[in-house]
């Protein structure tokens, strides 16, 4: 595997994203995959993505892109609506997975 096509933070070793970069990366992924009816930049970190028009089909693409960009795998217990309902919730989930990698 090389890094081509992966997110800007892709590394061979687990990489700790700082919060600002991670939020930006999540927003990029949402912009490309979530098919929101609202502009992603106009959403606050706590805004409900489903109310902003993310369908369950689009949310699967968001999850795939997140796994790819952050080099994580969401376990089945995390694959539920509430984990992906806002930028803040996604950030917490990715952070939790990366924390468990680093530990």
């Amino acid at each position: 595997m090389d890094g081509a096509g992966f997110g800007p933070g892709w590394r061979n070793t687990p990489y700790r994203w700082d919060q600002g970069t991670m939020t930006e990366e999540i927003r990029r992924i949402l912009r490309e995959n979530a098919r929101l009816s609202t502009d992603v930049d106009s959403l606050t970190d706590d805004a409900d993505l489903y109310q902003a028009g993310m369908t369950s089909h689009a949310s699967v693409n968001v999850m795939l892109a997140l796994e790819d960009a952050f080099d994580v795998e969401f376990p089945d217990s995390m694959l539920k609506r509430s984990v992906f309902e806002s930028i803040a919730a996604i950030e917490a989930a990715v952070g939790e997975l990366q924390g468990s990698v680093a530990a």
Binding site: S37, Y50, T55, H57, V60, E73, L79
Partner: protein, 392 residues
């Protein structure tokens, strides 16, 4: 505990009696004339079966969900349409009971349902959504005098003309996204239901499910506060798939029983001989039936276990969605397979509609199973979920 078990057993006994005395004798007429199973539903009211799942604090019997599922099976063995009306009603009751969230209006409504044995129908499908229950066109719209209204074009509303109340999915507001849905409970005197079609289907004829346009006016308290996106995965979808599959199992079991009775009758005519060739076919049907029963039983157990967890969080996972979608697909394909196998055993005697071994109605009724939320739509959903789910 033993009081709860006694209560569940007593309820199931009363359902078996309704099935024998009211559903079975009218099943052929209900089917032939595509008419509502009045006798069985009246008997359910007499036995207070319509409030069976309502907790006792709101005037119901508070029976377990396993007992409701078992009741669907028992009714299914005698009349598929009666069982489906019972199942559909219980799905609406369960959606309210499990997601009341302390609403005084809905608590009062459950007391009234128990007192008056009100029958609830459901309007979840809609013209223009491509069969996706998770989307609505119709929306809660503010109207005069602080009341709200909606108008919904429904391609089918099962027993809509015979129900007292209707539980409908609509968008939260006129500017809400298609997936931002709520459930609204409206009484008959708050609605106009204009039929838009006829009802002469292949099977499940007694459910009387032509399309209609629903226009309703109601106060905002009649909207369940919990979003439909929570109610659907935690209750409405798994409860639908479990109650339906139990009644399909009931229909298939009766088809098998009739095939077995046919084989026994043949064997008695030829005592002391080898088992007749039909007995071999019966053995094949039995193994198909046991696969169906195993899938239905295990899904029920998993749902009950997940429902006991605080917050029912595991029911909201994709793994859970796949699990109960798979139940629907598997059971809806397996039930008609069993019925067709039974017809293979009975031959022309089962093919005819007026013999003790007739299984035509069973086959036709179970053929509706793959259409009640089209299996292809469910496969489409699963295909997406499988891209990301890990252990299924």
């Amino acid at each position: 505990m033993s009081i709860a078990v006694d209560r569940d057993q007593a309820f199931l006994e009363s359902i078996r009696r309704i099935a024998e005395e009211f559903a079975a004798p009218n099943a052929a007429d209900v089917d032939k004339n595509a008419r509502f199973p009045h006798e069985a539903v009246e008997a359910m009211r007499e036995e207070r079966a319509l409030s069976a799942f309502v907790p006792s604090e709101f005037g119901g019997a508070g029976v377990s969900f396993e007992t409701i599922a078992a009741a669907c099976f028992e009714l299914g063995r005698r009349c598929g349409a009666s069982a489906m009306v019972f199942a559909m009603h219980q799905i609406q009751v369960a959606s309210i009971v499990r997601h009341l969230d302390g609403s005084p209006w809905f608590e009062d409504y459950l007391r009234r349902l128990s007192d008056e044995q009100r029958l609830i129908a459901s309007a979840t499908s809609e013209v223009g959504t491509g069969g996706d229950m998770g989307k609505s066109v119709a929306a809660v719209t503010p109207g005069a005098d602080g009341l709200c209204n909606f108008e919904k074009q429904c391609p089918t509303v099962s027993y809509g003309q015979h129900a007292d109340d209707l539980l409908t999915t609509v968008r939260r507001a006129p500017d809400a996204e298609p997936g931002d849905q709520v459930l609204v409970l409206t009484r008959r005197d708050q609605m106009e239901m204009e039929p838009t079609g006829t009802w002469d289907p292949l099977g499940m004829r007694g459910t009387c499910s032509p399309g209609c346009v629903v226009r309703a006016t109601f106060p905002t308290e009649q909207i369940l506060f919990v979003p439909f996106s929570t109610i659907a995965p935690q209750t409405m979808v798994p409860v639908s798939h479990i109650t339906w599959s139990h009644l399909w199992l009931g229909i298939a079991t009766d088809a098998f029983d009739r095939a077995r009775a046919f084989v026994r009758a043949a064997a008695k005519r030829n005592p002391g001989g080898e088992p007749p060739p039909a007995a071999h076919r019966l053995s094949h049907v039995m193994s198909e039936l046991s696969l169906l029963r195993a899938e239905v039983d295990s899904a029920l157990r998993e749902f009950v276990k997940a429902s006991e967890e605080p917050g029912r969080e595991s029911l909201t996972t994709m793994r859970s969605a796949l699990r109960f979608n798979n139940l629907k697909i598997a059971a809806s394909e397996q039930a008609p397979r069993v019925c067709q196998g039974a017809m293979g055993v009975t031959g022309i005697v089962g093919f005819k509609n007026d013999t003790p071994f007739s299984v035509g109605r069973h086959l036709r009724d179970t053929m509706s199973a793959c259409l009640m939320i089209a299996n292809e739509r469910i496969h489409q959903t699963n295909a997406g979920l499988l891209l990301i789910a890990k252990e299924v």
